[in-house]
Amino acid sequence: MLKTILAGLRARTARLVLSSIAIALGVAFVTGTLVLGDAVGEQTRDNFARSARNVDAAVHTAENSPNREDGIPADFLQKIRNTPGVEGADSREFGSAALLSGEGKARNALVQPLPTTEKLRDFNLKDGKFPVKADEAAIDVKTAQIAKLKVGDKLKLLDKDNAEHAFTIVGTYQQGASSISMSGSDHVVVSPEGLRTVIPDQRVYEIVAVAKAGVTQQQLVADITKAIGPGYQVQTGEELTQATLAQVGDAAGEIKTFLLAFAAISLVVAGMVIYNTFTILVAQRTKELALLRCVGANRSQVFRSVLAEALFMGLAASVLGLLGGIGVSAGLQTFISTFGGPSGGDDNPIRLPISWVTIAAGFGVGVVVTVLSAVLPARRATRVAPVAALRSQPDSSDDVARTGKVRIAVATLIALVGGAAVYFGLQQEKEEPAMFITGGATMVLLLAVLLLGPLYVPLVNRLFGKALRGVPAKLASANAGRNPKRTAATTAALMIGVTIVAMVAVVAGSGRATMNEQVDKRFPADYAVKSNVYSQPLSPKFTEDLAKVRNVAQIAPELRAFGESPKLEYADVTGYPTEALGSLVRPDLAAGTLTGLKDGEIAMREKEAKTAGVAIGSTVPISGKDLKVVALIKDNSYGTGIVTLKTAESILKEPVKGYQNVLVKLAPGTDITQARADLERFIATSPVAVLDSAAETKAELNSQIDQILLFIWALVGLALIIALFGIANTLTLSVLERTRESALLRALGLTRGQLRQMLVVESILMALIGAVVGVLLGAGFGWLLVEAISNSEFTISFSIPFGQIGIMLGLAVVAAVIAAALPARRAARNSVVAGMAEA
């Protein structure tokens, strides 16, 4: 029997190669996604937990320690360095200072000392060297870009008393993502001595240590605890890593979850393509298998031969696919780092971590799915009487059996479960569970829709077919409808891919539209002038002069005051001049009126009013004053609520130094470029003021969303490729199967061109069925998600990005034409007589 199998493999090389490519692609898709996921994970770990890199022990002030405010005593560093088992230790601290660069504008900068132990540096040097002398400094690459500084330049840091300290930039570095590095200001690293000159008594928040070789982290922790005494928290490096990751939290985890979800989807898509290919393959061989039975092979021999063949193919293709997947992952990472994405950005090295999970998943998909896909058709092939099988015609009534009642029942059940889950998800008030539950539920619904494919795919096909003119096109439609199960399975892969993209596109598009609306609403002002340095607000004098700039119609200084209230956890209010309310400041009102807000009154955030148990007309105590609630607002961007400037000043503990933010409205009909130039000229007089406009904010937000979309499009491209390969595969095998039919058509007068056209149209039809149903599903699911994420405070308005969806449909058609090219050529090349003779 082995001989027969090998001979069979040899004889059907062409078909087997095709199916193997399908399997290999599926495996490549899965492994590629998994490798990429692991790479992102590794990168995230490195990126977000770089501060824990090489750390074997870390000391913090204990959670409830009374000396938490003071930080770790200065002499601890020496104590730890003297502890046996410690190879090196460094303190972690950072202070804030104003940075003066060439332009003369001050910027807020975080200054950190360079760890003396090389292993403990949580910065990657990019250029030059790290500072050694007290007057040397290194800056991070983003700071270099934004402040337009380079190695060799001078920079000045201002200390508390505005005294200038000059440094020479000797290097640039890249830092990991952390709450410190993400805080938007500039970043400077100086030597520990250099830091003391600018900030003499900076609080130390952490001391990290590296163990000598052979000393375990646990042992080091024990030793250090003994050396410094109680009252401090000492963690192992591993604990610190976990804690750090947990702190930066979900950002990294979300990407991983997303990729895992995508891997799961890729698994299903790949499985479908493989299953479909094998079903067709075995169906075509029914006659051959029957012949084997006729000459004396028994049922189980035939069955085993099919399985053995599947196993062989699955193994061979999996190896190819695994290698391909690694290539895919490398390619994707290059793509992402070239075009920038959420995890890309600065030139991260390409990582190709290959875990056992990846290998197992790859082979699992390749071998198990292939063998399982072979079992069903093989069982069918061996169940029929041999002679009946010899006579069978492709797509006879047995193959095209009606959609089973069981299938419908199961699908309905799944749909009900999905529907219930969607309902449950929509009821959630919190954004994240709502999103996850609803998202998961839509995937359940998708499964139900896929199961019901054989029911509606012929209907959609007929609908499209009605629009077609010409005999080849009509024949194509008939061909696409001849085996609903096969067509459904072929289109399913594409349908899944398109559904996901459409869904993401809709959600992201809606988010973008909403954000733009929000920006418009939140920035009724044309410009905002902000202080670049937190400790140096815009002075009242500056504000007064700003109002006098040509074409400025109105200004509104904003004053944030942090008060206390027995009824609220936080009581920070935002003060505006009364006349700005309703014009320059327009929050979303839930009740009451805002205009004419008087001193001692507050327009309170609805949610906090509920917490405090107050309503319009009652009062809320903040910092010893009873503020009368006159309005309720929905926005959360004003803290506890909006008050008048005077009220905010009275809540403030110290006298007003100035304002962080001043809103500016131009006189109607002003030439924007002219006005902007005027404003910029005025602002240049202040060392800290910067101009911020709604347009720029919008552009920045949009570019962030675009980056996420880019990442998704890259993954979706992959899904599309494999789905279209599925179509090409089905079509090729169909062409082989329909050789006699094609010959008959040619005999009856179908030209070669028309035959090709027929296959191309068939391919386009299948692609469009998948894509159109996918778009509809995706838009629907997207709407559900948008509804789920929206809650009473934050409403996303649903919008469909027609352009993107149009492009997607266009791509599907183009790809369908490409998919049909080879099979069509092959079909047209066949000689009529040879085709008629084919058994």
């Binding site: 015609q393 005999v471 409808g481 008959l744 179908l750 028309q754 000689s831 007589v833």
Partner: protein, 250 residues
Amino acid sequence: MSALVSEVGTRTAAAAHNLVKVYGKGDTAVRALDGVSVAFQAGRFTAIMGPSGSGKSTLMHCLAGLDTVDGGAIHVGQTEITKLNDKDLTKLRRDRVGFVFQAFNLLPTLTAEQNILLGLELAGRKPDKEWFDTIVDVLGLRDRLTHRPTELSGGQQQRVACARALVARPEVIFADEPTGNLDSRSGAEVLDFLRMSVRKMGQTVIMVTHDPVAASYADRVVLLADGRLAGEIHQPTTESVVNALTHLGA
């Protein structure tokens, strides 16, 4: 046998002149047709017979423009089809020739009616409603028009194929073992119909068969052996055909 075998006074529907067809190359080359010259009169029912491997199917395929030739010329009507390219050959098949094959005559995706009208649709021609009705009624297919091939018996499928061949009123209908897959009763029905289409409707039918009974329905039998013409019988009967075949050594 170099002279054209023809009947004086009748129009020629199709003719082959010194036709050569070789399969394979070098030592394994087989001359499937080795200088065959034969003419088929319009309005007649001609059967081509011969033992297996005599070249009868090849002759028909070449006459119908389904296969290329290695020498000689073929005319369908006034057209020398051996000079046509693939596109023109396709057009010729579509517009001027009808086919009935042994099996697999119909497209499984189309209904009987759609199958019958397929050739006309390909040519972009409007079917003649009256003619269509006549054929459908004669063939007894009226209540089968909406059925798909899988829902039809073998005899019904062959009758649908006949209807498709006839509905376009082609110059010649080629039938390749049209009864090969049928039981004798269904076979007789189909042959009756082919003969009637010649007698009453003036069709020209050229049929390849190895069944003497089927051949006896024809007006004339052309005999082939080893790729050469080996005689002919006019007004054949089953017996005369069997006799002739026996002499050929079949």
